[in-house]
């Protein structure tokens, strides 16, 4: 079988040529036709540029000149990632599944947990490719899915989780990014299917290990069947040199409820895309984004929620804080398709600037093709309220503590929505550590 992607012209940039080279080196598997189509489309469309609608604020040109190679499948020095990174203690989680550069560290089968079936994607591809192909198609040319296309073409392994019961404790997926050179790339892929009536909490935690952090092109899919309930977290806690493009796709059936948290606490350039489809009546989504800009960090958050059926509900809450020379972008869009009557959507995007050199851009958008819908949206960006600050100073609090408390209060809307109390505490701690005067603040939390 020929592996050459049928494209009319040779890829122009070094990055595209390197992706094509990775493609050539891949083993053929049962997903081949879909992967090939994904690769062709990616090479044809190329890396997203600032002319693409959802990439207006993020310049990826520096990536184009690099030649990427696959990141290693395991950590060479075999040192386990720092335990301090753990969001939950042993007693607080059902299990932690480790992924190194997208490769599950096996044996996954050893993780026998009631109510969830856990399998490596490579195994599913071999034994039941039909089941997997349902998730890989249809492919999308939309620019917010560009890196998802590349992931579909090139992921080697990943995790498939089928939730069948009602999980009491959260399940943690610890994604470790660890390179053995400067131009590594990883393609973590996770597919989570929540069977009818099931419920679970899944925390995807992205961390880095070692000197080199690969470019991470991760893609997660959530499918909630009728009446399923899922609380999903994705937490980015990599270092300042890390570039991460992540996309999350959610499909929701009748009366399913999804509560999603996107939390950016680390990374140098972090792009988080969320594309949710409320496909059947009664589906409900709460999307919460907590984006912390620190140092030179660039965070680009794109949330697109499509109401595809009547009586669907979505609530998007995004809070961004930007300090130093960081930049945070919140693109939040709701689309109500024709026929999605009585859809109810709410979008609240708020930004807080902590430094004169920081920047926050908020773009809430609405596209309504149905009657009898209720859609509200609001966006504000500003600095700390001087009246609030003066009130606290007049009570004797020092300036740093007062500012930190106000920043913390600003994020409270998102934090208080988290059901997993120990994870919330860990996230709060990580967040506070990036605020001025964190020691004092900890005492008053």
């Amino acid at each position: 079988m020929s592996r050459a992607p049928q494209v009319s012209t040779l890829p122009q940039s070094a990055a595209l040529r390197s992706f094509a080279a990775q493609w050539h080196a891949r083993d053929v598997d049962a997903l081949q036709p879909v992967r090939e189509e994904a690769m062709q489309r990616f090479l044809k469309l190329g890396l997203p540029t600032m002319r693409d609608e959802t990439w207006r604020y993020t310049d990826l040109r520096s990536l184009a000149a690099r030649s990427f190679v696959d990141a290693p499948r395991s950590i060479r020095d075999s040192t386990p990632p720092d335990a301090a990174l753990a969001l939950l203690g042993n007693s607080e989680r059902a299990a932690t599944l480790h992924m190194v550069n997208g490769h599950p560290t096996l044996p996954v089968a050893g993780e026998a947990i009631d109510g969830v079936e856990i399998r490596p994607l490579r195994e599913v591809a071999r034994l039941d490719p039909g089941a997997l192909l349902r998730f890989l198609q249809p492919l999308s040319d939309a620019d917010q899915q560009r890196w998802g296309l590349l992931n579909t073409a090139l992921f080697v392994d990943g995790l498939y989780l089928k939730i069948t019961g009602r999980l009491a404790a959260p399940l943690v997926i610890l994604h470790v990014a660890s390179g053995d050179g400067a131009d590594n790339i990883a393609y973590p892929r996770v597919i989570i299917e929540a069977a009818p009536g099931s419920s679970a909490t899944i925390i995807e935690h992205h961390v880095a290990h070692g000197e080199h952090t690969p470019l991470v092109d991760s893609h997660t899919q959530l499918a909630l069947r009728q009446g399923a309930q899922l609380e999903h977290y994705r937490v980015y806690a990599t270092g300042a040199s890390a570039t991460h493009v992540d996309s999350l796709t959610i499909h929701q059936d009748r009366d399913s409820r999804c509560k999603q948290f996107t939390i950016v606490l680390g990374g140098g350039l972090v792009r988080t895309a969320l594309e949710a489809h409320l496909d059947q009546p009664g589906a409900s989504l709460d999307s919460n984004s907590l984006l912390v800009g620190h140092a030179e960090r660039h965070v680009d958050c794109v949330n697109i929620v499509t109401h595809g059926a009547a009586e669907t509900r979505s609530n998007q809450t995004a809070r961004a804080i930007a300090g130093d020379s960081s930049r945070v972008i919140i693109n939040s869009k709701v689309i109500v398709n024709a026929g999605a009557v009585h859809a109810h959507s709410q979008q609240s995007c708020r930004g807080l600037l902590l430094s004169p050199t920081a920047e926050i851009d908020t773009r809430p958008q609405l596209e309504i093709h149905a009657d009898e819908v209720k859609c509200a949206h609001g966006a504000t960006t500003g600095r700390l309220d001087p009246d609030m600050l003066f009130y606290m100073l007049s009570r004797g609090l020092d300036r740093e503590t007062a500012q930190s408390l106000l920043v913390y209060a600003f994020l409270a809307d998102v934090l208080t929505g988290m059901s997993v109390v120990p994870a919330r505490a860990a996230i709060e701690n990580a967040l506070i550590a990036q605020l001025p005067d964190s020691q004092t603040l900890r005492k008053f939390r």
Partner: protein
């Protein structure tokens, strides 16, 4: 304790205080009355250290220290307290956390250890009972969703916990019904002490039925036009502020 000499201040390009002179001694309660726009609240905010109010002249000493050289938080720790006319709502910051942080900031400045959490809770519960406040205030955000009267009680509660040397209460009586006014007045009276002083900024005389002042001053047009004992308040009530302003012209 407090000595204000020829104090001048400007807010948003407008001269508001045009040479205020006032001296308050320990153990005294002073009332500053005056019509709307006379500069009463500006004076209170300037004394508390609001930075966007520009001081254009004069001096203020507090226990012999140059008050204007201190930042707002330093003034608070030195024992100055401002009860706000419009207490700010700070959703997400717990009412009790703020109070505890405030008390600890003051203790730290005085070289004392932090307050014991259990003792603090006992103290605050006792003071809340005195202020007729429900314990639900313990868990709420600072002034979040409080009614006007609840906010004012909360201000006095903070004052009782922080035990300032000098309390400046800016229209703490406005918007209170008669029962709340009594509670708030009891709170202020409980703090009266030969070592402390209170400055009441008020538009109406009725507060002074409950908190008896030693001195009454009329502030108008950014200056204190008349000072007297408590009978001055009664006279103002009868004759109106025009009487004082007119007296100045004459």
């Amino acid at each position: 304790m407090l000595k204000i000499t020829d104090l001048r201040a400007r807010v948003a390009g407008r001269d508001i205080l045009k040479g205020v002179n006032l001296e308050v001694n320990a153990g005294e309660v002073h009332a500053i009355m005056g019509p709307n726009g006379s500069g009463k609240s500006t004076l209170a905010q300037v004394l508390a250290g609001r930075e966007d109010y520009e001081i254009t002249g004069g001096s203020v000493t507090f226990e012999g220290r140059d008050l204007l050289a201190l930042r707002a938080e330093e003034r608070a720790r030195a024992g100055l307290f401002l009860g706000f006319q419009y207490p700010v709502e700070i959703p997400g910051v717990n009412n009790v956390y703020l109070l505890k942080a405030a008390l600890n900031a003051k203790r730290k400045a005085a070289g004392e250890s932090e307050v014991d959490a259990y003792e603090f809770l006992a103290l605050i519960k006792q003071k809340m009972k005195f202020m007729h406040m429900s314990e639900s205030f313990l868990t709420r955000g600072v002034n979040e969703g409080f009614s006007g009267g609840e906010k004012k009680r909360n201000e006095v509660l903070q004052m009782l916990v922080l035990e300032p040397k000098l309390a400046i209460l800016d229209e703490t009586d406005s918007g209170l019904d008669i029962d709340a006014l009594k509670v708030v007045s009891n709170g202020v009276n409980s703090l009266r002490d030969p070592q402390r002083a209170v400055v009441l900024v008020t538009h109406y005389q009725r507060l002074l039925d409950y908190i008896e002042p030693d001195r009454v001053h009329v502030l108008s047009g950014g200056r204190i036009l008349k000072s007297g004992d408590k009978s001055l308040a009664k006279e103002l009530e009868r004759r109106g502020y025009d009487w004082v302003a007119g007296a100045e012209v004459a």
